[in-house]
Amino acid sequence: MAAEANTQAPLPSGQRSTAEVLRTVFGPVVQLFLFIIGSAVTLGLIVVLLALLQIGTRPDILTRTLTILPQVWIDGMVRGFLFATIALGYTMVYGVLEFINFAHGEIFMVGGVAGAAVGLFLANNELLKGMNGFFFVLLVVGVAMAVSGTLAVTVERVAYRPLRGAPRLVPLISAIGVSLVLQDLVRLMMTNSDLGFNARFNTPDFGKPIRLFEMTLGERPVPVILSPKALIFIVASIVMLVVLNYLVNATRLGKAIRATAQDMPTASLMGINVNRIVAMTFLIGGALGGAAGALFGLNVGTVNPYMGFIPGLKAFTAAVLGGIGNITGAMVGGVVLGFLEAFVASYLSLFTDGALSGAAYADIAAFSILILILIFRPSGLLGEATTQKV
């Protein structure tokens, strides 16, 4: 026995090399980009193919397809990162507590409303005009993260913690309750303030849309435009994803979160304060959702108390698509779903010659995807197949 032990490789140390840390943090990001490019290319090829099939009856269809393609890609990116940032909250909470935090869409919405409130406050005090755009985004996102993070922790404390250990459906129903309460509470607050039901999201001037390049298709050149707000959204999301990856994969807190996710009582036997870890999970997930809400509001221009519901549902779909509980999976799922929706929304009307409204059927497409995924690959794109123990 002793001889066997001596032939072993050098004793593994607990410390990780910098290269290893970089790999754990940026590995998922690289994976994410592969999926972005993959979805963009695949879906692009599919629409071109569909256009070629129709070219006999509608000669201009290929040009029209290609004309909007870059814009659809950008739209897909924005949607994708939106879903990804919200999905992270679902997936983290699911990972730790194995329950669907149905109210997460409302946490997202609160972030948007908080951001709009900051914008309104600045506008009312004549601070907005000359404000530096970068500083404004930082401020708005910071406030939204703080508000949504705090709210998420409070919700966990009040509505979920008392139910820990109950049958699965109990906290889920409670979460639905929280979702409804938040919608109406925020509505009550908004309609009784200057914000109003449909609140404008005041921002400083971010400058002109960026012309990425021009395509010459047919007679006239078609510019491909990226609005500065969309750019802010994409960049901010990427930064958040990287930071989160570092937090979960390379810090002591992340280690505690992973252990708590796998076995809560045993984690507490290791000296981990599991209640604090659960609260931290809600804080991080909530803050990410809040940031997404603020960025979304900023990008779209208005916020309202019911705006969290549908994106929340989609983001959940994204989390499941990627493999719920898996952080990289949530991002990948979000991006794939975002692209898919953008393509359906833009091309369905085009290919059916306006008979079907793309925007409405994008929702149906998203849910159909959810059903298909759950049936054929219940563990999602990146989820580990878990076999049931008997």
């Binding site: 992973r258 045993t266 036997l269």
Partner: protein
């Protein structure tokens, strides 16, 4: 002063009165075993000590300090580690990461961490071979070793072992009990809960017999081994 002292402890699972006034003392350096049939309250006793369950009545004190209202993660800091029933390995963490979790309260950069790790690998050479393997893919015996090793990584003064031989091949059972004795020889006090009463009484100094939440008998292990009731009910001797 005893290292660990339970006085008249009552613990409930919901409405079920699981421990009905249990008093146990463990002195420093001992191996003490709790034996009894399923549902007698052995595991409940350990879970009450480690803080996973809160007693409704009675006192638990460790080194003279009350700990019955202390949460489990604080109790670990005081020097009590538990290797839980069913082993409860983190299945998706590697063996090394599982051990790191045991050392959660200490820095993995410190020299003592390396010493601790070395100690575990010396006790369980099998774990060294499997450092990079996921906990969930280990065999039952290896998981048990990991569970004990992980508990040792918290640097405990008192080690609570819950059914370490459960479901193991006879060949492994012998090994595990030998190792428990080695750990004890290194200065760790052990409170051992066992279904396998015979083996437990072979290595323990003293023992308690539990029946439906109450202690019905306590004595030195030698005396218990010779006790007729114990022989009949728990040792399978006629």
């Amino acid at each position: 002063m005893a290292l660990l002292e339970l006085q008249n402890v009552h613990t409930y699972y919901g409405k079920i009165h699981a421990l009905k006034g249990i008093s146990v003392t463990v002195e420093k350096g001992e191996i003490v075993t709790l034996i009894g049939s399923n549902g007698a309250g052995k595991s409940t006793t350990l879970r009450t000590i480690s803080g996973l369950l809160a007693p409704r009545q009675g006192e638990v004190s460790f080194k003279g300090r009350r700990i019955d209202k202390t949460p489990p993660h604080e109790i670990v800091k005081l020097g009590i580690a538990q290797s839980p029933e069913g082993r409860r390995i983190f299945p998706r963490l590697t063996v090394l990461e599982n051990l790191e979790m045991g050392a959660y309260l200490h820095s993995t950069h410190s020299a003592t961490y390396r010493e601790d790790l070395e100690r575990v690998f010396t006790l369980f050479p099998r774990l060294r071979e499997r450092v990079a393997q996921k906990g969930g893919t280990l065999s039952g015996g290896e998981q048990q070793m990991l569970a004990i090793g992980r508990a040792l990584m918290t640097r405990p003064e008192l080690l609570l072992l819950d059914e370490p031989s459960m479901g193991l091949a006879p060949v492994l059972v012998e090994q595990i009990f030998e190792i428990v004795q080695m750990i004890n020889a290194q200065g760790v006090t052990v409170l051992l809960v066992e279904q396998n009463a015979l083996q437990a009484l072979m290595i323990a100094h003293r023992g308690y017999v539990l029946q439906t939440g109450q202690i019905v008998l306590t004595d030195s292990a030698q005396v218990l081994r010779a006790n007729e009731m114990v022989q009949k009910a728990y040792l399978g001797l006629e």
